[in-house]
C-alpha cells in the first residue's frame, strides 16, 4: 500500500488522450479515476486489458499496467492473466462490437467460469473506430453506413446475455451520470467473481445522443430507475411512480401503492425481468441488477513438487 492517500492523480499519466471531443469515453475515464482511489489498491496492482475499438485505447490513459490486445479477445487474455496472477486486480475494457460480436464467445465463457474480473461493456450502439457501421446493439431501423435502409435484425440484450451466461454481478450505468457510474464501478470491482457493467456511452460522431431521451440530467429522474436493494423501483420527478410486476408482467403504479415490487439483487428471475424492459415503454433501470456468489475460476499456482519427485516422474515408465 502507498503511504499517502490515493488520489485521481495517482491513476493519470501524461499520454495525450485522443478520443473525439464530446466522446462519452472521457466521462468513463474520469469515473474510473474517481473510483480507483476509493478501491484503495496502488496503481501497480491494477491491470487494464482492452480489445479493439475506441474504448480499447483506455489503458494507455491510465497510470496502471495496461495491455491493448486484439479485437474481441480481451476477456480471454484477462482470463489467462488472472488465472496465473490472482494477486492482481484485472479490468477488461470492451465495447459492443468487441465484446458482443467478434468476442461474444470469450465473453460468455469468461462469465460462465466466473473469472474474478471487472468487465466494462461500453455500449454506444455503433462501430466508432471503423467510422460508423451498425453493431450488435444497434436498434432495428438504425441507419448507418452499412445499413442505409436501416438495421433489419433486432439488437442483442447484453444484460440478459450476461445473466444467462452465469455472470455473478450484472449492472448498468450511464456515462452522463459520473457519480453513479463511479459508484457502480467500485461495487463491481469489489465483487468476488466476474462482474459485467454495461455503460451506455454517447458516440458523439456516429450515434450522437443515442441515450439522451433518458440520460440527460434534466430528464433522468423521469426515465430511469436507480436500483437500490430492498427499495421499490421508484422514478419520476418527485419519485411519484414505481415499476412493479404482476407475475412476469411489468406494470407502472403510483409510488406508495401497496404490494410494490422491491428490488432483490439476489433474485435471478427478477433480474431477468428487469433486463427485458424496453424504453420508452418503461423507464431504464440503472444500478446492480444481480449479484450472487459462487466459486471463482482459480488455479492453485503452487509448485508442490521438487527435484526428487521429478526424477520419480521420469522413472514412472523406466526400463
Amino acid at each position: 500500500m502507498t503511504n499517502h492517500p490515493l488520489t485521481r492523480k495517482d491513476f493519470s499519466n501524461d499520454n495525450d488522450v485522443r478520443w473525439c471531443p464530446g466522446c462519452g469515453d472521457y466521462a468513463i475515464l474520469a469515473a474510473l479515476q474517481k473510483a480507483l482511489p476509493e478501491i484503495g489498491l496502488p496503481p501497480e496492482q491494477h491491470v487494464f486489458v482492452s480489445g479493439i475499438g475506441c474504448a480499447g485505447r483506455l489503458p494507455y490513459y491510465m497510470n496502471a499496467y495496461g495491455l491493448h490486445t486484439i479485437h474481441g479477445r480481451a476477456a480471454a487474455v484477462a482470463t489467462g492473466l488472472k488465472a496465473m496472477r490472482d494477486d492482481l486486480n484485472v479490468w477488461v475494457i470492451s465495447g459492443d462490437g468487441d465484446a458482443l460480436s467478434i468476442g461474444g464467445n470469450h465473453l460468455i465463457h469468461c462469465l460462465r467460469r466466473n473469472v474474478n474480473l471487472t468487465i466494462l461493456l461500453i455500449n454506444n450502439q455503433v462501430y466508432g473506430l471503423t467510422k460508423g457501421q451498425f453493431s450488435p446493439t444497434s436498434k432495428a431501423g438504425q441507419v448507418t453506413k452499412t445499413s442505409p435502409r436501416g438495421v433489419s435484425s433486432q439488437p442483442m440484450n447484453p444484460l440478459a446475455l450476461a445473466l444467462s451466461s452465469g455472470a455473478t454481478f450484472v449492472a448498468r450505468s450511464i456515462d452522463k451520470d459520473p457519480a453513479h457510474l463511479a459508484n457502480i464501478l467500485k461495487l463491481a470491482n469489489q465483487h468476488q467473481g466476474c462482474s459485467l457493467v454495461e455503460i451506455y456511452q454517447d458516440c458523439h460522431i456516429f450515434k450522437a445522443g443515442a441515450f439522451d431521451a433518458f440520460s440527460q440530467k434534466n430528464n433522468r429522474a423521469e426515465n430511469t430507475i436507480v436500483l437500490e436493494e430492498n427499495a421499490v423501483l421508484a422514478y419520476g420527478k418527485e419519485g411519484e411512480s414505481a415499476l412493479s410486476f404482476d407475475g412476469d408482467i411489468p406494470i407502472i403504479k403510483e409510488n406508495g401503492s401497496t404490494e410494490l415490487h422491491k428490488h432483490d439483487p439476489s433474485n435471478f428471475m427478477a433480474a431477468m425481468r428487469l433486463s427485458q424492459l424496453s424504453f420508452p415503454e418503461f423507464p431504464v433501470p440503472v444500478g446492480v441488477y444481480y449479484q450472487s456468489s459462487r466459486p471463482v475460476y482459480q488455479f492453485s499456482n503452487k509448485v508442490k513438487k521438487e527435484r526428487s519427485d521429478l526424477l520419480d516422474l521420469f522413472r514412472s515408465k523406466a526400463s
Binding site: E44, F48, A83, R85, L88, V303, A318
Partner: protein
C-alpha cells in the same frame, strides 16, 4: 536370430489394440530390446465395428541394436477381424505369421467388407496362418467370474497380449502388475484380465507356436537409466521440469483437437508439478490466455494441430509486436482443412514461418525424435524468455505418438530458462541480444502499457512515426536472426565426404537415417543432415550446402523447405516429397536417393 522384428496388432478401434501395443512396448523395452512404435488410429472414434474405417493398429519394431523406425514390412500380423486383415495383410512379409480371430470370420463378417469367405484360403500358401477362436477361448477363462458377457469378451485383448508375449519370449510379469494396478478397484475385472493374459500365453506355449525366429538378444546402448517415451510424454515432462526447477507455475492452455489433445491429457496430471491446465473455449482463447499470463510474467505454452494453427495466427502477431514470450506447439496433421486428422504430415512449415500479416518473424524449431521433444521445449522456453518472443515448435502426429527409449537426464546438465524481470524501467529497453525488459505487473515503478499498436523503439509508447516503424520492423527481424547464435554446430551424418547430401527436418530423422545407412552399406555414398531449426536457419548451413554436388530435401509435404533452401541459398536443391499422411518408408527413400546418385544428378 533376427536383427529386428516387426509386429502389427490391428482390430476395431474399440478392441483395446493401443493398450496391448503399449504394454508390449514397455515389456520389450524392459527386456532390453530397442523399440520403436507407430500407433495408427482411425479418425472415427468407434466407426462401424468390423469395417476398414474403424481399424485401429499398433506397430512395433524391436531389435537388439539401435533402430530408428517402426519398420515397414511385418514379420507378424495379428488381425482381429476381416477388415483388419484386409487393411494390413499387404504389409506382411511372405512367409510371415498371420494370427487371426476365428470367431470373427463368419461369412457375414467377411461380407461386411465385401470380401469372400475364401479370402484367406487364396493367400494361405504365402503366409503361416494361425486361426484362434479368440472369443471362445477368452470366455472359457472367465467361467465362475461375476461378469457380464460384454465385460468377459473385453478381456480378449489381454489374451492376445499373452499370446504375443510368449511369441517374443517376453515375461508376462510386468503386464500382470499393470493389470493389478489398472483394475485395482474391481477384483473381478482384475482376475478376468489376468486369466485371459495367462491363457493366451499358455495357449501359445501349448500349440508350440514357432517362435524361434522371433527371439532377440539384448541391445547395447550407452550406460544409463532409460525409459520409454513418446513425443507427447516428452513435452509434458519438459513442462513439469521447467515449472519445478524454476519453481514458477507454467500455464498450458489448449482447446481439444486431434492429435494435440494428448498433450493436454498428459499435462492435466501434472498440477502438483506446477503445470496449470486451462481448457479454453476455442483455439484463439487458448493462445490469448497465454498472452495474458505471459504479460503477467508466467511461462506459457499452447498446443494445437491443423486448423488450430490458423486460428492462432492473429494472436501470434500480437505476441510478436508486444514481444511477449510464449511457445506454440503445433502437432502437424495432414491437411488442408480437416484433411486426415489422425495422419502425419509436415505441411505447416510455411504457415509457421510466414502465416501472419505484416512482417512478423518468429523462431521455428522442429524436434527430430520423441525424446528430442523434451530438449526442444526447454530450449524454446529459454529462447522465448531471453529474446522475448513467441516460438513455434513443429511436431507431427507421428512424433507425438511414436515411442523410443529415453536416457533419463541429469537435471543439472539442462539449460533451463533464466527468468529475469524488470531489467529496465522502460519496457522496450533491450539486452545485448535485443530482448526487451519483461516488466511484471504488480511491480512499483515498472508500470507500462503495451499492445498491438506499433511502439516507439525507445520508450515503448504508441508511435505512428514512419521512421520508427521501419526501425522496429528491422529490429524485430534482427532479434530473431540473432537466435542462430544459440545453436550447436551442424552435424553431418552418413558419409560426409559423399557428393550427395540429403536434408530432412523434424520427425523424418529415423527414416532418413535408416535410408542413408542402407545406401552407404550398399556402396551408394550419401551424407545426411537433419535440421532442428527452421527459423532462423543455422549460420553454418550455407557452407555445408556448398560442399555438396547434389542436395536433396526430403519432407512430408510438397517441398516447402526445399523451396526455402533454393531461394535462400541459390542452390539447385531437389525435393523428395511425400503427402500420403504416412511417415516415409526407408525403402522409398533409398530408391529415391539411389535414383539421384546412380543417375549422376537430379536431371537425367
Amino acid at each position: 536370430m533376427k536383427d529386428s522384428i516387426v509386429i502389427r496388432i490391428t482390430g476395431d478401434s474399440g478392441d483395446g489394440v493401443q493398450l496391448v501395443g503399449e504394454q508390449l512396448t514397455i515389456t520389450a523395452a524392459l527386456a532390453g530390446h530397442d523399440v520403436r512404435t507407430l500407433p495408427d488410429f482411425p479418425a472415427e472414434i468407434r466407426a462401424l465395428a468390423g469395417t476398414v474405417a474403424g481399424v485401429s493398429g499398433f506397430q512395433l519394431a524391436m531389435a537388439e541394436q539401435i533402430i530408428f523406425t517402426a519398420g515397414e514390412s511385418l514379420d507378424v500380423l495379428v488381425a482381429l477381424n476381416p477388415a483388419a486383415i484386409k487393411s494390413a495383410l499387404q504389409f506382411l512379409n511372405h512367409g510371415g505369421l498371420l494370427i487371426v480371430n476365428e470367431d470373427s470370420l463368419s461369412k457375414k463378417d467377411w461380407e461386411k467388407d465385401g470380401l469372400d469367405a475364401s479370402y484367406l484360403d487364396d493367400v494361405s500358401e504365402q503366409y503361416q496362418i494361425i486361426k484362434i477362436p479368440l472369443i471362445t477361448n477368452t470366455l472359457a477363462t472367465q467361467e465362475g467370474l461375476e461378469l457380464s458377457l460384454t465385460q468377459a469378451k473385453k478381456a480378449k485383448n489381454f489374451y492376445v497380449l499373452g499370446l504375443v508375449l510368449w511369441l517374443f519370449d517376453l515375461k508376462p510379469d510386468h503386464c500382470i502388475d499393470f493389470i493389478h494396478k489398472k483394475f485395482k478397484s474391481d477384483v473381478a475385472l482384475q482376475q478376468a484380465n489376468e486369466l485371459a493374459l495367462k491363457a493366451g500365453y499358455n495357449f501359445a506355449l501349448t500349440i508350440e507356436l514357432s517362435r524361434q525366429e522371433y527371439m532377440l538378444g539384448h541391445v547395447e546402448r550407452e550406460i544409463g537409466e532409460y525409459r520409454q517415451i513418446t513425443g507427447v510424454e516428452s513435452i509434458a515432462l519438459a513442462a513439469a521440469t521447467i515449472a519445478t526447477e524454476t519453481q514458477s507455475p507454467l500455464l498450458v492452455a489448449g482447446y481439444p483437437i486431434t492429435p494435440a489433445s494428448a498433450i493436454l491429457h498428459e499435462c492435466a496430471k501434472l498440477e502438483a508439478f506446477g503445470v496449470e491446465l486451462l481448457q479454453a473455449e476455442d483455439e484463439i482463447a487458448a493462445i490469448c490466455a497465454c498472452i495474458g499470463a505471459s504479460f503477467g510474467g508466467s511461462l506459457v505454452f499452447t498446443c494445437t494441430s491443423g486448423p488450430g494453427l490458423d486460428l492462432k495466427s492473429e494472436s501470434l502477431g500480437l505476441a510478436v509486436i508486444t514481444e511477449l514470450p510464449l511457445v506454440v506447439i503445433d502437432v502437424q496433421r495432414a491437411g488442408a482443412s480437416t484433411g486426415l486428422p489422425t495422419k502425419t504430415e509436415q505441411a505447416d512449415l510455411n504457415q509457421a514461418l510466414y502465416g501472419r500479416h505484416g512482417d512478423a518473424p518468429l523462431p521455428v524449431f522442429a524436434p527430430i525424435t520423441p525424446a528430442d521433444c523434451f530438449h526442444t521445449l526447454i530450449m524454446a522456453f529459454t529462447i522465448a524468455t531471453k529474446y522475448m518472443t513467441p516460438v513455434i515448435i513443429l511436431m507431427d502426429a507421428y512424433l507425438a505418438n511414436a515411442a523410443e527409449p529415453w536416457k533419463i537426464p541429469d537435471i543439472d546438465s539442462l539449460e533451463l530458462p533464466d527468468l529475469c524481470y524488470n531489467q529496465s524501467t522502460e519496457p522496450y529497453q533491450r539486452n545485448e541480444w535485443l530482448g526487451r525488459s519483461w516488466n511484471k505487473p504488480g511491480s512499483k515503478g515498472y508500470i507500462h502499457q503495451i499492445g498491438g499498436l506499433e511502439k516507439d523503439s525507445k520508450t515503448g509508447k504508441v508511435s505512428y512515426d514512419p521512421a520508427n516503424h521501419a526501425e522496429m520492423v528491422a529490429l524485430r527481424a534482427a532479434k530473431i536472426a540473432g537466435i542462430a547464435r544459440e545453436y550447436e554446430s551442424i552435424i553431418i551424418e552418413g558419409n560426409e565426404k559423399a557428393d550427395t547430401l540429403v536434408i530432412g527436418w523434424g520427425s523424418t530423422y529415423g527414416s532418413l537415417k535408416s535410408a542413408v545407412n542402407e545406401c552407404n552399406q550398399e556402396g551408394v555414398a550419401v551424407a545426411h543432415l537433419q535440421l532442428r531449426h527452421l527459423n532462423p536457419m543455422p549460420n553454418d548451413l550455407e557452407q555445408y550446402l556448398k560442399q555438396y554436388k547434389h542436395v536433396l530435401v526430403a519432407e512430408l509435404n510438397t517441398g516447402q523447405l526445399c523451396q526455402l533452401i533454393r531461394s535462400t541459398y541459390l542452390i539447385d536443391a531437389q525435393p523428395i516429397a511425400q503427402s500420403s499422411g504416412l511417415p516415409f518408408s526407408t525403402s522409398y527413400l533409398v530408391d529415391r536417393i539411389k535414383e539421384v546418385v546412380l543417375n549422376g544428378g537430379c536431371h537425367d
